[in-house]
Amino acid sequence: MKADQLKGHLDALLLAALEDGPRHGYAVMEALRESTGGQLELPTGTIYPALHRLEAAGLIAGSWSVVAGRRRRCYTLTGAGEDALLRRRADWRNFAAVMSAALEGTPWPNPA
C-alpha cells in the first residue's frame, strides 16, 4: 500500500503503533511494518514530521534519552491520544462497513 493511499489515515496508524507502549520513530515504523505484514510502502523518514505534528497536538509526548551514544526521542500516547485513537477506530469501522456494503454488497450491520 503506497503513501498516497494512506492520506488521512497516517495519524491513526502512528497512534495505534504507540498503543502498546513508548517507541522511538524507527520502532514505530517497524511496528507498523510488522502488524501489516510489510504492506505499507511509506518512506520511513517522513513519519518523523508526522510524529512531531501529533506531539504538537498533544496526542503523544516525546522524551529524549541516549542509546549507544546517540540521542533518541521516544514517544508515548497521552490521554488525549488514547481518546483520539478510540475515535479513529470507531470512524474506521464505520467507514469500512459503508465501503464494504457499497462495493461488495456486504449486509449493513443491524444496530439492533
Binding site: 524507527y26 518512506p43 517522513t46 512531531h52
Partner: protein, 190 residues
C-alpha cells in the same frame, strides 16, 4: 567501524538543513535501520543503501519537515485571513479620511513597504522546500505583521478625529491577531 559515506552524507544533509534535534532524531532512526540490515548479513555498503532506500532521500525528509512545520501552518493562516484584515483597515482609512491624518509620508511609505514585504516572506514560507527558509520567512512575516498591527492600532487611536465603530472592529481584529502571533511564535522558533 566507520559509517559508509552514503550514511555520513545523508546525516550531513540533515544537519545542514534541519535544527539539531530534528537531524539527530532521524539520524538515530537511520542508524537503527543500518544496524538492522547489517544483522541481516548485508555488507556495509548494501546495508547503507537499503537503509537509505527505506528512509527516502534526505531532501524528501527535509521537505516533509518543511510541509509539517509550524511556521508554514501559521504563514498559511495569516495569508488566508489577511484580506479580511486588509478590508477592515481599508474601510477605517477611507471612512476616517486617513489622508488628512498627521502621519508623515515616510511613515506611510514604510508601513506600505512593510505590508508588502511581510506578505512576500509569508508566501515564501508557504512555498519553500528548505526547512530553515520556511522557519525564517514565517518568523519574519509574523514579526512584520505584528509591527504593522501595532502601528495601525496606534495610528487609529491617536491620529483620527475620533474612533469610528469600524476602527473598533479593526483594532480588536488586529489585537486578536497580535495575540495569535505571540502564541504561535514560540513553537515556530523551537
Amino acid at each position: 567501524m566507520a559509517e559508509p559515506s552514503l550514511i555520513a552524507n545523508y546525516k550531513a544533509v540533515l544537519l545542514a538543513e534541519l535544527p539539531l534535534p530534528l537531524a539527530e532524531e532521524v539520524s538515530d532512526g537511520l542508524a537503527e535501520a543500518y544496524a538492522k540490515y547489517l544483522r541481516l548479513e548485508l555488507g556495509a555498503e548494501d546495508a547503507a543503501q537499503a537503509a537509505v532506500s527505506e528512509f527516502g532521500s534526505a531532501r524528501s525528509v527535509v521537505e516533509a519537515y518543511s510541509s509539517a512545520s509550524p511556521a508554514r501552518r501559521v504563514a498559511r493562516a495569516l495569508v488566508v485571513t489577511g484580506p479580511a484584515f486588509g478590508l477592515c483597515w481599508a474601510a477605517v482609512l477611507i471612512t476616517g479620511k486617513a489622508w488628512d491624518w498627521p502621519v508623515p509620508i515616510i511613515a506611510r511609505a514604510l508601513l506600505g513597504g512593510l505590508l508588502v514585504a511581510s506578505v512576500l516572506v509569508l508566501v515564501i514560507a508557504i512555498r519553500a522546500a528548505r526547512y530553515r527558509t520556511v522557519r525564517r520567512s514565517g518568523t519574519a512575516g509574523c514579526v512584520g505583521l505584528a509591527v504593522l498591527d501595532t502601528s495601525m492600532i496606534t495610528a487609529a487611536m491617536t491620529s483620527g478625529p475620533g474612533i469610528h465603530w469600524l476602527a473598533v472592529i479593526a483594532i480588536f481584529a488586529s489585537a486578536a491577531r497580535l495575540v495569535c502571533i505571540a502564541r504561535a511564535l514560540p513553537p515556530m522558533l523551537a
